[in-house]
Amino acid sequence: MLVFLWRRLLYTLPIMLGVALVCFALVHLAPGDPLVSILPPDASAELQAKLKELYGFNRSYPEQFVSWVWRALQGDLGTSIASNRPVFSEVMMAVGNTLRLAMVATLIGFLFGCLFGFVAGYFQNSWLDKLASLTSVLGVSVPHYWLGMVLVIVFSSILMWLPPGGAGPGGSGDWAWDWEHFKHMLLPAITMSVIPMGIISRTLRALVGDILAQEFIVGLRAKGLTDFGIFLHVVKNAAPTALAVMGLQLGYLLGGSILIETVFSWPGTGFLLNSAIFQRDLPLLQGTILVLAMFFVFLNLIVDVVQTLLDPRISRS
């Protein structure tokens, strides 16, 4: 098993390199002058050349790539063209906000997803199952940005119970786990949780159904195990996959938060990405995509490792 983990770890390295490469290529494939946002239209050629040199845009692509990666490994992701602050600190602050939101959302989605999934799997083909399955299909199909809008309409505009956006009274830098802040998080978190809830619920329904149909369950019952005991067995068998799916969903939320953050003006990485794109702020864009992608890669790695540790079948293969 250690061998497997070691190999899995090693395998991540070329992937990370590939990701960095794609990241770099993506951004530089953008047409248009990266400096257009800060240069005045009548800037002299001399000024343009100077700025280019400052940001390193005048060197060859391989050079730029290598120096970017080298500095990134040391924590320096360059300086944002638009805000003139270090990319790294901007991204990290944003990541903090998104992570908070995503984790709460994943938790909610996981809890309800497990609930619906187990109910559906245990009571297959009954009305409970149909209801739970319906809920999960709806969860998976909903355009989450629209759902966000609807929730804002209902809870903010009509009922006026919750604020429509932002991260709290202190702005994006200040967070505390109190009701003042939490009520800003509630709507976006619920919105974000819907798709993971749908996916986890569907996966678990199939999984629980499969486990219950297996012969060893009949054997356990024959030995006199109570329903609760059997339930624990099912949980034990379903846990690795359920946790894996949850981990993956967290990754997707981290990477895909932009839509919801736009709806709720949540100052996270998605929001940052949005402004980076529209301001054509190359260093910021590059840095944000890189950090998000790396998070996702690491998350996948952790999910694999945890799954191996929990599921004895995989580790022995």
Partner: protein, 352 residues
């Protein structure tokens, strides 16, 4: 029926000569370089298949029978050794692979997995002729004709799909497919092992009839000794990737020469109270093809093993009854205590 490919060497020339076949499968090494090694699936196999005979091949799981079958079909390529088909080297200029594949075909064990679930029966059978240039209408006609020959009425079966047929029927289809190219040598790899006994009997009789009708040569691989005895003219016994005994079927079953063959045959359950099995026929641990024992591979489990057996590997030698055996007990003048002192008859001895 159109002309079959011409017989080249006459009845005396073997249909297939297998010389020095070796196939090893490497094991994955981990990142630290540990755990390498090879599985010696087939480790030096020589034998001949005579024209018009049925050569049975027996041995336990892991002895290399299936690998040998796939090597004979060239579905996997050997590391060393060659195949000579009717005097021509397979894969050489006179007999390129595609031409060899017209002459030799195989029937697999799993009747369902051997058929493309998306093709009708007649399409499955007609595929091979079409690959070799036979026009479609003619290939389909040939397919239908073959279906009739194997006992499946073409009107009822030609346009069906594999999942609609029973195991025995599917195996008949596989046999028909093997005949579609008018091949001369058919390799049957556990072809009846998965069938119910009654169906098995029907299919075996079909095989015998077809062999006579078409003048076929069979290599019949099976772990079921009774079936092999029923079907084969000669039998070849394999152990851990090597041939340990070859001989005429009846002779081998009545007078097994190699200790392994003896053990194998005595393990056949019988209802005869006079032939009760009293002691376990085989001692020791089952073989490991990754690290085979030195010398004679059977020696750790052999009742008659002596020093020479662990030191030198015996090569096939002839016995009094006309079999070939790879055992020091049968090599005259060898250091084994039970070996005969002088060579018997006109048989030659080979000492490793």
């Amino acid at each position: 029926m159109p002309l079959t490919p011409l017989d080249l060497g006459g009845p005396a020339q073997p249909m297939l000569s297998v010389r020095g076949l070796v196939k090893h499968f490497p094991l994955k090494k981990d990142v630290f370089g540990k755990g390498g090694g090879v599985v010696r699936a087939v480790d030096g196999v020589d034998f001949e298949v005579l024209k018009g005979e049925t050569l049975g091949v027996v041995g336990e799981s892991g002895c290399g029978k299936s690998t040998t079958a796939r090597l004979l079909m060239q579905l996997i390529i050997q590391d060393q050794g060659e195949l000579i088909f009717d005097g021509q080297t397979v894969g050489g200029s006179a007999l390129p692979l595609k031409a060899y594949r017209r002459q030799t075909q195989m029937v697999f064990q799993d009747s369902y997995a051997s058929l493309n679930p998306r093709l009708t029966i007649e399409d499955s059978i007609a595929f091979a002729p079409m690959v070799h240039g036979v026009p479609q209408s003619e290939a389909v006609a040939r397919a239908r004709d073959l279906l009739g020959r194997v006992g499946l009425a073409p009107e009822r079966f030609a346009e069906r799909y594999p999942h609609e047929l029973s195991g025995g029927q599917r195996q008949r289809v596989n046999i028909a497919r093997a005949l579609a190219l008018q091949s001369r040598l058919i390799i049957l790899d556990e072809a009846v092992s998965a069938l119910d006994k009654s169906v098995e009997a029907q299919v075996l009789n079909l095989l015998l009839d077809l062999k006579e009708d078409f003048g076929l040569t069979y290599v019949f691989i099976s772990h079921d000794l009774n079936v092999v005895r029923y079907m084969s003219d000669r039998v070849l016994v394999m152990y851990l990737g090597q041939v340990v005994e070859i001989g005429n079927s009846e002779t081998l079953f009545n007078n097994p020469a190699h200790p392994y063959t003896q053990a194998l045959l005595s393990s056949i359950p019988t209802l005869d109270p006079d032939r009760r099995t009293e002691k376990p026929p085989l001692a020791g641990d089952p073989p490991n093809p990754i690290n085979p024992p030195t010398g004679c591979r059977f020696h750790p489990r052999c009742v008659h093993a002596q020093d020479i057996c662990s030191q030198k590997m015996p090569v096939l030698a002839h016995t009094a009854h006309g079999q070939q055996v790879a055992c020091w007990m049968h090599v005259a003048g060898s250091a084994h205590g039970l070996a005969p002192a002088h060579p018997l008859g006109s048989a030659t001895q080979e000492v490793a």
